[in-house]
Amino acid sequence: MNLLEVEKLGKSFRGLRAVSGVSFRVAENSIVALIGPNGAGKTTLFNLIAGALAPDSGIISFAGTRIDGLRPDQICASGIGRTFQIVKPFAGLSVLDNVIVGALQRSANIAAARACAEEILRKLGLESKRDLPAAALTLPDRKRLEVARALATKPKLLLLDEVMAGLRPAECDEVIGTLREVNKRDGVTILLIEHVMRAVMALAEQVIVLHHGEIIGQGAPAEVVRQPAVVASYLGDNSDL
Amino acid sequence: MPIDFVSLTNVIISGILTGLVYGLMALGLSVIFGIARVVNFAHGEMMTLAMYASVIAFSTFGLNPFIAVLPVAALFFVLGYAMQRWIVNPFVTRPEHSQFMLLLSIAIILMNGQLMLFGPDAQSVRLDSLLESIELGPLLIDRGKLYAALVAVGTTAALFGFFRFTRGGTAIRACADNWLGAKVVGLDVNQLYALAFGLGTLCVAVAGCMMILLIDLTPAIGPGYTLLAFVIVIVGGLGSMNGALLGGVLIGLSEALAGLLILPSAKSMFSFALLIVVLLLRPRGLLGGNR
């Protein structure tokens, strides 16, 4: 079953076509990676799916219902969670409170939300820092917090925007492991934007390549990275894979 | 009550002239708010301070405002520069409301300081040479308003010239457009912000020296003018200096007309209504760009 269906999506900013004629599907329970050079329109695409931007044309369907044009909070309510490329923690709140905010989306009361939040912090290895103000966290931990918060809303689809950026290989592997678990055990479908090819190759079942707002390649990772158009525009010849 | 054409024209002219002085005051805020990014809640209080300065210049030194404006403006430029450089600048990285509170506290201190020093009684500067109105056919133009407006226009032109044609002006505009970029090319952004602020307070000082000829001064009128300046800047468009001037004339005109056609005491209600409408429909203002 296709959880997310994007059909001929388009968005322009004052004449600049950020996203143009983009169509793809994300199968339920899969992990799909979105790659491409900077400025290709990846985050714009995320913003369109997550409701931060309204598309100029095209259709977005989630679990069979159209969601294009809905507000971000409505889209979260329907089951899509997202992280931001530049992390946006609630700096004045504690790590635990940050996640509780997310958990309140699905929990009836604070106690239930707290329990859910603590569980997720444990899963992401942040429980020792639960009472720290979010502002005190290092960048890798902030990224983990961002993921934890989004997970707390119990999404069916998780949109991850460059969560690996700035992480060391060991940290990167940890996050890869957590995401795999979240996908397999909790059945969360994942669509991720990534530049770190290590993560893309390790996680993705499908890769979509975006360039100048258009899709120039789609398919299994091993195939896509060999496609000439992809190599020319983004990966280059000596990519370490 | 029939309103004849001559009275109407006189009122319109009067409104435009006063509006030009408002425009200069607002221009100061446009520079401070639009360029130095400071929400100057103390704007009106700075103007009243300049007005008191010109009163002192007149009563103690016998200098009429048209002459006193030079030292007062210079003084206020320095004060503005210093204030931004050493008091306001650290707040650039703080949350927005911190800056509001800072300027608000400065406004409170300035206003009540003036109250303590000068007392609550109204003061003004009335020059004999300005008593006689200029007659242009059937029209009657207030001499004081005309000269004040001319000074306002002159100062504005000088400011435009500075920003357009000098190196310093271009640097300041670059800084306002792109802070990081300006830093990257080696501009001393702190210096430039302080300069911009100083120029803003200079405008306020000149406007104040002219205002003292037009209205009565008490410490309590400050906040009203702060608000007026914000209304003008927002209506005219943030970041647009032309907008500030246009906005000033518009407000001056509407106040004059409202005073004539509706109720004099309700005229500022009109300005606020205009602000509310503009904020809701077109926050960028009439001539504003993308901010």
Binding site: D97, I110 | L104, M116, M269
Partner: protein, 320 residues
């Protein structure tokens, strides 16, 4: 809040309840005013400290609330205990109008603040011409015999009314802070975009904050008109009033529970001290009190941006 804090709180409550037995009328009036600022500061704190929406025009609700109940009493003899509900209703509508207008148009930050100021100023000038409630000459309420149904009585009556209100406001704030509204408001305050992505309908919740704050402030206005027995547009809608309201929470500490209370206490103490000093020195210059407020605000903003309470709480080890 740990055991030590709870104990101190209980002690404070006991002292406050017993105060009228020991204090003279003057001290009572100072205490009443202090509680007034604590209460109104709490109301403002919900909108700003919790939800991050800066209003510098809160005098709007003081005035509209006060005039609603005052006019009902003046023209129809309606008791303030009933009139206050009308005042609350009107201010809820007003707050909803202002909030909806602002938030639908995406106005935030300084523009929102300016909008609040503009509304208050509009009201000030408007009520100056509103002759049914006295216009600029003011509204004067009959000072009849002692009758607590009409909220007329000894100073102790007003003190206890204000104490009750302040306690209720404190309780409400504490309750809200620990529950969904508190979490959602703080999320919006910290980062509205992220809050939205987590399923929070930011428009609705900001509106709730504004309306709650407006309703609470309306009650303050009703209190004022029956305490002073008169109301003037120039005074009640003045920006000075709006500034007074925010002083306590900012100096004490925005977004905290005790901030507005500590701030109110400090300001009352200093204001009273200043008045005494001025009398003793024979200065009696208008503006001394306000300039002290301004200097304190300046000092707090520059040196203690989170307000006084967080530092005190840390020193006395009162938080967790």
């Amino acid at each position: 809040m740990n055991r030590r804090g709870s104990f101190l709180l209980a002690l404070l409550a006991a002292a406050l309840i017993a105060l009228p037995a020991f204090a003279d009328n003057y001290l009572l009036s100072v205490a009443t005013l202090c509680l007034f600022f604590a209460y109104t500061g709490q109301a403002w704190n919900i909108m700003m400290g919790f939800a991050g929406q800066l209003s510098l025009g809160h005098a709007l609700y003081l005035g509209v609330g006060g005039y609603t109940a005052g006019a009902l009493y003046f023209h129809y003899g309606v008791s303030p205990w009933i009139g206050v509900w009308f005042a609350i209703f009107v201010c809820i509508a007003l707050g909803a109008f202002l909030g909806a207008l602002a938030f639908r148009s995406g106005i935030s930050g300084v523009y929102f603040t300016l909008l609040t100021i503009a509304f208050a100023e509009f009201a000030r000038i408007g009520f100056d011409h509103f002759t049914w409630v006295g216009g600029s000459a003011g509204l004067f309420l009959k000072v009849s015999q002692q009758n607590w149904l009409d909220l007329r009585g000894p100073p102790a009556l007003y003190y206890y009314v204000m104490l009750m209100l302040a306690a209720l406001a404190f309780g409400l704030s504490a309750w809200l802070l620990r529950r969904r509204p508190g979490y959602y408001w703080q999320a919006i305050r910290e980062n509205e975009e992220a809050a939205s992505a987590l399923g929070i309908d930011t428009f609705r919740w900001k509106l709730v904050a504004v309306v709650t704050s407006a309703a609470m402030t309306a009650v303050s206005g009703v209190f004022l008109v029956f305490y002073y027995n008169n109301l003037f547009p120039e005074q009640i809608f003045s920006i000075n009033r709006s500034v007074e309201i925010i002083l306590a929470p900012i100096i004490g500490g925005m977004g905290t529970l005790f901030g507005p209370i500590i701030g109110a206490a400090l300001i009352s103490l200093l204001a009273d001290g200043a008045t005494e000093l001025v009398d003793v020195l024979g200065w009696n210059i208008p503006g001394v009190k306000q300039i002290i407020y301004g200097l304190i605000l300046f000092a707090v903003v520059v040196f203690l941006p989170h307000g006084i309470w967080p530092s005190i709480a840390r020193k006395l080890n009162l938080e967790r």
